[in-house]
């Protein structure tokens, strides 16, 4: 087998093993969004209404995007961890190129996110089917199509997390930089509110926020409502994935020990 491909598989293998061992990560990644959906969505939903939609159903795609956003970017902290335990040296001294190491990491992080989202989608389906969240009707088609959109989103976001992680030496530094990024990306994405009647000063920020298009795509796929249309949404999330992968290989090439 091609040595670079085996190298990518090696990194992937390791990330999967770690994911499998650290069950608490998965539990947290499932419980938090469900609480958001039930408590935040339930509480606020009783106060506001969105034309034609139950508020909890409305934010379900937004909560999915939130889960992808946070877990993907946070994945970058493991590269800081690898540096600390010197495991990164073992990987970097192998014949595998840094590009492949980066790609292996991206696939690893993306896999984690996809598994979490698949579980959340199943939970969403249950909530819809038992009328816990009225109006949330997930089908096998929306399940698969959502995961496709999520695959592109998580690829970009894991790349961004890894870029940050590759340039950081401490967990604190990583957390500082990533939270500066995470909160605006999340709150300005329309995950929790419709973006068609925003105040004029916020609208440009949501417009340039790529997460907006991920949320919009998921909302289209799951609920059939959309602001920009699938073509625009997918152009943005695919474009971002390509750009961040290129930037990421560059960052790994420049990464110091």
């Amino acid at each position: 087998m091609n040595s670079e491909i085996r190298g990518i598989l090696a990194i992937w293998y390791r990330e999967l093993k770690v994911f499998q061992r650290e069950k608490s990560r998965l539990v947290g990644a499932i419980v938090t969004p469900v609480l958001w959906l039930l408590i935040f969505g339930g509480g606020l939903g009783s106060a506001i209404s969105i034309t034609g939609l139950n508020y909890q159903a409305f934010i379900f795609p937004g909560i999915l995007a939130q889960s992808v956003l946070f877990s993907s970017i946070f994945f970058g902290i493991y590269i800081v961890w690898d540096k600390k335990i010197d495991f990164l040296k073992e990987v970097l001294v192998s014949p595998v190129s840094r590009t492949s190491i980066f790609l292996g990491k991206v696939i690893g992080g993306a896999t984690d996110s996809m598994i979490q989202c698949a579980i959340l989608l199943v939970i969403g389906w249950i909530f819809g089917a038992f009328n816990i969240i009225p109006g949330l009707h997930l089908t096998i088609f929306s399940f698969i199509f959502s995961l496709v959109a999520i695959a592109f989103m998580t690829t970009s976001l894991v790349s961004i997390g890894l870029i940050i992680g590759s340039q950081m030496e401490s967990f604190e530094g990583f957390q500082l930089v990533s939270s500066f990024l995470l909160f605006p990306l999340f709150f300005l994405s329309g995950a929790l509110f419709p973006i068609n009647r925003l105040p004029a000063w916020i609208a440009p920020f949501t417009f340039i926020n790529p997460i907006t298009y991920g949320v919009d795509a998921l909302r289209h796929i799951i609920l059939g409502v959309s602001q920009y249309g699938l073509l625009a949404d997918f152009s943005v999330i695919i474009g971002l994935a390509v750009a961040t992968i290129i930037a990421g290989t560059f960052a790994f090439e420049k990464m110091k020990l």
């Binding site: 087998m1 040595s3 085996r6 190298g7 598989l9 090696a10 293998y13 390791r14 093993k17 770690v18 061992r21 650290e22 335990i85 010197d86 495991f87 040296k89 073992e90 990987v91 970097l92 001294v93 192998s94 014949p95 595998v96 190129s97 110091k256 020990l257």
Partner: protein, 322 residues
């Protein structure tokens, strides 16, 4: 053709020069030792040779490939065992080895065979499915050593490989490293604090201090430089002036009531020395060791344990920090 050719290799960190204009050639199949105190620049040298950090100036060729121009080719030719723990402790021993086999593109069937071989060598077969978290410092060290050998590199770099191992395992590994170098014609570059290790294992030793080579030769040749046997005498009131007049004594050191003499052919002259020096409490005669050589060149005793403590201590420190 030498397997490693180092030319003016230099690494500067802001105000310190960790490695200073190093020039060195290492032959194929040789076991070569880098001996030096803490901070001498041993690890930095290995990190440059293994392409993990870039030299500030100068370069080197490893297995014919330039470390600056052709780092990928260099990495395909080498194996490295790091000074600090570098295995993933959320994985088992077996999984760490499997991962290594994948990184080095060893086909699956061959990989399983080598994992088995390596596990037996480092005596971890019975513990292979345990998480590395639960290994002792020494076990983890053994695992990483086995891992470094697994892909049969042309050149093997070992950064203080036996730090923190019990004497039995240490002996075992020395023999294995020696066998490996001879049988498979692998060249081994080893850094160490242990004089005994350098003496027993290495064909040649470079003593390095403040990033510079201060002596380079076979251990036996280096010891000849001392020019005689070492006589250590415990005595309260030594008659140093008289001793210094004896023609066959080349060096006299006095420290804390202990007199160290370098004596050509000590067995012949011992009686006269003891008569001359005064009321002796005890006396010891021995062949010079690399420690004496080290002292001779650097003016310092080498410490057998590194300042930060042994390897195993560092694993433990590391764990308690997290």
């Amino acid at each position: 053709m030498p397997i490693i050719e180092i030319k003016n290799l230099t690494k500067k960190y802001r105000d310190i020069t960790a490695v200073d204009q190093l020039n060195l050639q290492i032959e194929e199949g040789e076991i070569f030792g880098l001996l030096g105190p803490n901070g001498a620049g041993k690890t930095t040298t290995l990190m440059m040779l293994t392409t993990l950090i870039k030299p500030s100036s100068g370069t080197a060729k490893v297995n014919g490939f330039d470390i600056v121009k052709n780092p990928d080719k260099v990495r395909s030719s080498i194996g490295m065992v790091f000074q600090d723990p570098s295995s993933d402790d959320t994985l088992t021993g077996y999984e760490n080895l499997k991962l290594h086999g994948m990184l080095y593109n060893i086909p699956p069937v061959e990989r399983e065979k080598r994992i088995k071989e390596v596990l037996e060598l480092v005596e971890l077969t019975g513990r292979k499915n345990e998480l590395v978290k639960n290994y002792s410092g020494g076990m983890r060290r053994r695992l990483e050593l086995g891992r470094g050998l697994m892909h049969y590199p042309k050149v093997l770099f070992l950064d203080e490989p036996t730090l923190g191992l019990d004497p039995q395992t240490r002996d075992h590994l020395w023999r294995y490293i020696e066998d490996l170098a001879r049988r498979m014609h692998i060249s081994v570059i080893i850094t160490t604090h242990y004089m005994e290790e350098a003496d027993m294992l290495c064909d040649r030793v470079a003593i390095i201090d403040s990033g510079k080579i201060v002596a380079l030769d076979a251990p036996s040749k280096l010891k000849e430089i001392i020019g005689g046997d070492v006589v250590t005498i415990k005595i309260k009131e030594p008659k140093i002036d008289l001793i210094k007049q004896l023609p066959y004594i080349s060096k006299v050191d006095v420290k804390d009531g202990i007199v160290s003499l370098t004596v050509a052919n000590a067995s012949e002259h011992l009686a006269e020395i003891l008569q001359t020096i005064g009321q002796v409490d005890s006396v010891e005669v021995r062949q010079p060791t690399l420690s004496d050589v080290f002292l001779h060149y650097t003016g310092r005793e080498i410490r057998e344990d590194s300042a930060e403590g042994g390897w195993a201590d560092r694993v433990i420190n590391f764990r308690s920090k997290h």
